[in-house]
């Protein structure tokens, strides 16, 4: 039998507001435990939440960018459950009137174009973190993350492959980054994804029993978890067993999912309207002003880069896929670097370094100003391309100043004809055999001689000048 995999996503995204959703504590990641909290976000008795309007603005902007209908009359609800990372024993969320509904996101995969429907987007507060200390066998609570604003974006079950899921997440990430509403760092937990997955015989109209997978900390993990879980369910069904509706935890080391809790043990969250927060009304004027302030998104920018800068479609697409690259590119160009040169360096040397270091563009120290300086030095003929690549590798980790580095390492190009001629003479004298071979018509040994001269000059010469000097000397 041919099986079809059906997937829906619930994505939690931390919003990049400076302060928390219901108090003025910092949202900064990390910090010593319990240093970014106050009586409000730790739910001390008598304290009250007051909504951060920036959170509403960011959530509405995200809703608009995902083509959702925005709810004018917003309410918050309480989701009640006991857990030590949730100091009020309820999470303030939105159940009955989420801020955005009925959106859609176009995605492109190798299989073609497709539209993913957004069921809803709602605002809520994050919980704290429990840190287990195996040394003393105690669990400690860190409430720094309590009250960090989140939006949860729930799709319809529209995905059929892991590729579609990844394409959607890339698109979502890029959209939120363009809006500037989240930094979407998966490794810091600011973008977290739960995957609902079921399988059914191809052509079937009804859905199979689904499982929900948690603890997916990278796109790679999501992709592998989807493949694993689909196979697990298909095997169960083919053996005549049934899939149990449950929450499963992905274990990245074991490359498998494990049962966390079944539906029978599902909690009753006893949702009810949050009485401490009055309803929020969003006016038409407010939404209009948000629409007008929406930034230029990826597609528009990609077209503009092709049109204005003459970048190849592929390059423009690569850069616009990530807001951090767009920002870097535009700043480098603004500092005088030719756009094509800037793009080449970014997509070549820079991407290679990022890949080798397993880094995200937004985490690198290298600045556009430094790359622009490097490009300028090549254009001025002060360093050659090979040297520039070396310099780039060297300054990349700590953003060491390019000019200083070149000067301190004596890497400026040798443009002194006398020095080149002297080196040529020395090399010819040391390699009589090769010289004879060349003169006998074996032209390809010239490359070896060029290399030897460059070595003499410690690579700092212009290879074209060396080539010309050698040819002249061998005449």
């Amino acid at each position: 039998m041919t099986w079809e995999t059906v997937i829906g996503l619930e994505t939690h995204v931390e919003l990049a507001t400076r302060t928390k959703i219901f108090c003025s504590c910092s949202t900064a990641f990390g910090g010593a435990p319990n240093t970014h909290c106050c009586p409000v976000c730790t739910g001390m008795p008598g304290t009250l939440p007051v909504v951060n309007r920036k959170v509403v603005e960011f959530a509405a902007q995200a809703g608009l960018a995902l083509n959702c209908e925005i709810t004018r009359y917003n309410k918050f609800d309480r989701k009640n459950y006991f857990y030590p990372d949730l100091p009020k024993a309820y999470q303030i969320s939105q159940l009955y009137l989420p801020i955005a509904r009925n959106g859609h996101v176009p995605i492109v995969t190798e299989a073609g174009e497709k539209e993913i429907r957004i069921h809803e987007l709602h605002m809520e507060e994050d919980a704290g973190k429990l840190v287990h200390d195996p040394w003393i066998d105690q669990t400690r609570c860190d409430y720094n993350r309590c009250g960090v604003p989140l939006i949860e974006i729930v799709t319809e079950p529209d995905f059929r492959t892991a590729d579609e899921v990844i394409a959607y997440l890339e698109k979502l990430k890029s959209t939120l980054e363009y809006l500037g509403v989240s930094d979407c760092k998966m490794q810091e937990g600011s973008l977290r994804c739960d995957v609902n997955l079921s399988v059914r015989p191809l052509g079937s109209e009804t859905f199979g029993t689904r499982t929900e997978m948690k603890n997916l900390n990278s796109f790679k993990a999501i992709s592998r978890a989807i493949k694993y879980e689909a196979r697990r369910q298909i095997e169960l069904l083919e053996e005549g067993k049934r899939v149990i509706q449950e929450t499963r935890r992905w274990d990245d080391n074991k490359d498998a999912t494990f049962s966390m809790r079944s539906k029978e043990n599902a909690q009753d969250y006893r949702y009810f309207p949050e009485p401490d927060i009055p309803p929020l009304e969003l006016s038409e004027e407010y939404l209009t002003s948000l629409r007008e302030r929406q930034p230029e998104m990826a597609e528009a920018r990609r077209e503009r880069y092709q049109r204005e800068y003459g970048l190849p479609a592929y390059d423009a697409g690569q850069i616009t896929a990530q807001k951090a690259l767009v920002d870097f590119f535009e700043e480098t160009v603004a500092l005088g670097a030719p756009p094509k040169e800037a793009a080449n360096w970014m997509l070549g040397d820079m991407m290679r370094r990022l890949k080798d270091e397993e880094m995200e563009p937004k985490d690198m120290k290298l600045t556009p100003a430094n790359l622009a300086a490097l490009i300028r030095m090549i254009a001025q003929g002060r360093i050659n391309r090979n040297t520039a690549s070396r310099v780039f590798r060297a300054v990349f980790p700590d953003n060491a100043d390019v000019e200083t580095y070149v000067r301190e390492h004596g890497l400026e190009q040798v443009n002194d004809a006398g020095a080149v001629e002297a080196a040529v003479a020395k090399v010819l004298e040391a390699n009589p055999q090769t010289v004879s071979e060349y003169r006998a018509g074996k032209q390809k040994v010239l490359g070896f001689l060029v290399g030897q001269v460059m070595k003499q000059l410690k690579g700092k010469a212009d290879p074209k000048a060396v080539n010309a000097a050698l040819r002249a000397a061998l005449q």
Binding site: P39, M44, P45, G46, N80, P87, F272, D276
Partner: protein, 491 residues
């Protein structure tokens, strides 16, 4: 200093400004009286802080000091006071001392009052008698065999027993007005949203409101002038023009229309209470008010609606008391769930547990629509009925409670009967309106009777104006229980 103890808060404030009484003298008088009263009105005395503050205030006394400057008062133990134990009269909070002040407490401090301590109450404000306190019941100063009412029973007893000049309490379903009535003092629940709830440990967030318990309407007005006003820390606090209540009291209520809802004077109302409350209408009429009869056909729904909504919110609000972060923690637990269960089983009293269970039930999946959602709808209808009644008159006059203060131990044996006695007060919270309780007589046993004035939303001023006018022509509010003002313990 009997004379001193029988002054109103405003009279004492004036005497302090005139230099006739020093603030330390007033504080010593209060501490001594509170110590001698023997009504168990206080959970915590803050004598040392009060003495120190009295000295500082005395030094800072200026001619332009406010009307309550230097006046000793008390704060209900569910209102957070920085570094001072705030227990909600529950075992589960242990010796919890919050690192912050409630906004209302801060505003009172700015007005220059001196808190002498934290008053007893029903545990988490759940109860009508102050008998559910972990710290034992408060006794009624008029007769120690009777309850003072609740849940702000400690505040009411402290004021009635002349241990302090006023107190602040909280009112979720009558918790200021009913004990004020049982103790023969004046108490007011202002319009929902006019006093910040920041720092008030929540029972039912949509109904809770802080207000004064005092000797008379003028004192209540002065306290509300100090504590009312929008607070950026409370999203439900209203934007409105606060202040000026005290200045508005002129005794002139000519043309004011007082509505008497027949639905509040039917079966179940004690005859002595009924006649004393209706007597208020005669006094107001004699002062030039117009009295009209009207109907309020929602009274049969108010008690069930209140107990569903209040219990639901309470079940969620009280979930944070789990022994993990602060307060009291049970010993000998095996794991996390056991820690929760043991702490909450041992830490909460029976009435609190009853309401948590009720609230958890009405919010459960499968029952939410039948109970909670329906209660919210009925709440809307109750509000509409009150709005309609308020459109026909300026104020409503009703009883506060069907009877005078019951005897100790009588109520807890029959919680349902106790819930039903909240009928005249809970509707005011459900509709978010201002309501005031003032003394209007005594029953044959010598226990005080209270009358309730209810105004439209943000109509707090007219409520106080009418009560003030009434108190110009009556002396019920000046009567003191025999034990008070004598400085002795002959009772």
């Amino acid at each position: 200093m009997n004379g001193l103890r029988n002054l109103t808060a405003l009279q004492l404030g004036a005497a302090i400004r005139r230099g006739e009484v020093s603030i330390p003298e007033a504080v010593e008088t209060a501490l001594e009286a509170a110590g001698e009263a023997g009504c168990n009105a206080f959970i915590t005395f803050t004598a040392e802080q009060a003495r120190k503050r009295a000295e500082e205030l005395q030094k800072g006394l200026k001619d332009a000091a406010g009307p309550l400057y230097g006046v000793p008062m008390a704060i209900k133990d569910n209102i957070c006071t920085k570094d001072v134990k705030t227990s909600c009269a529950s075992k589960i909070l242990g010796d919890f001392a919050p690192p912050y002040d409630a906004t209302a407490a801060l505003r009172l401090e700015e007005a220059g009052v001196v808190s002498i301590g934290k008053t007893n109450m029903d545990e988490f404000a759940m109860g009508s008698t102050t008998e559910t306190s972990f710290y034992g019941p408060t006794l009624n100063p008029w007769n120690r065999g009777h309850v003072p009412g609740g849940s702000s029973g400690g505040s009411a007893a402290a004021v009635a027993g002349r241990s302090c000049w006023f107190a602040v309490g909280s009112d979720t379903g009558g918790s200021i007005r009913q004990p004020a009535s049982y103790c023969g003092i004046t108490g007011m629940k202002p319009t929902y949203g006019t006093v910040s709830r920041y720092g008030l440990i929540a029972y039912a967030s949509s109904l809770d409101q802080i207000g004064p318990l005092a000797r008379d309407a003028a004192d209540c007005a002065a306290v509300l002038d100090a504590i009312q006003g929008q607070d950026p820390r409370d999203g439900t606090s209203l934007s409105f023009e606060a202040g000026g209540l005290l200045a508005s009291l002129d005794g002139d209520i000519r043309g004011m229309k007082i509505g008497i809802p027949a639905d509040c004077f039917g079966d179940g109302l004690n005859a002595e209470v009924r006649s004393a409350v209706l007597g208020v209408a005669d006094v107001l009429r004699a002062r030039g008010a117009e009295v009209v009869n009207l109907s309020l056909p929602v009274m049969e729904y108010v008690v069930p609606t209140y107990y569903i909504i209040a219990a639901a919110e309470a079940s969620s609000n009280l979930s944070r008391f789990d022994g993990v972060k602060y307060g009291w923690r049970a010993e000998g637990y095996e794991d996390l769930v056991d820690l929760y269960c043991k702490t909450r089983t041992e830490g909460f009293g029976a009435e609190v547990k009853r309401r948590i269970l009720l609230g958890t039930f009405v919010l459960s999946s499968g029952y939410y629509d039948a109970y909670y959602r329906k209660a919210l709808q009925v709440k809307g209808l109750i509000k509409e009925a009150f709005d309609a009644a308020c459109a026909k008159c300026d104020l409503l006059l009703t009883p506060v409670a069907p009877t005078t203060a019951p005897k100790l131990g009588e109520s807890l044996s029959d919680p349902l009967q106790m819930y039903l006695s909240d009928i005249y007060t809970v509707s005011v919270n459900l509709a978010g309106l201002p309501g005031l309780s003032m003394p209007c007589g005594f029953d044959a046993a010598g226990m005080p009777i209270g009358a309730q004035l209810i105004g439209p939303a943000l109509g707090d001023r007219n409520v106080l104006r009418a009560a003030y006018a009434f108190q110009q022509d009556t002396t019920w509010h000046t009567a003191a229980p025999a034990m008070a003002g004598k400085g002795g313990s002959e009772l």
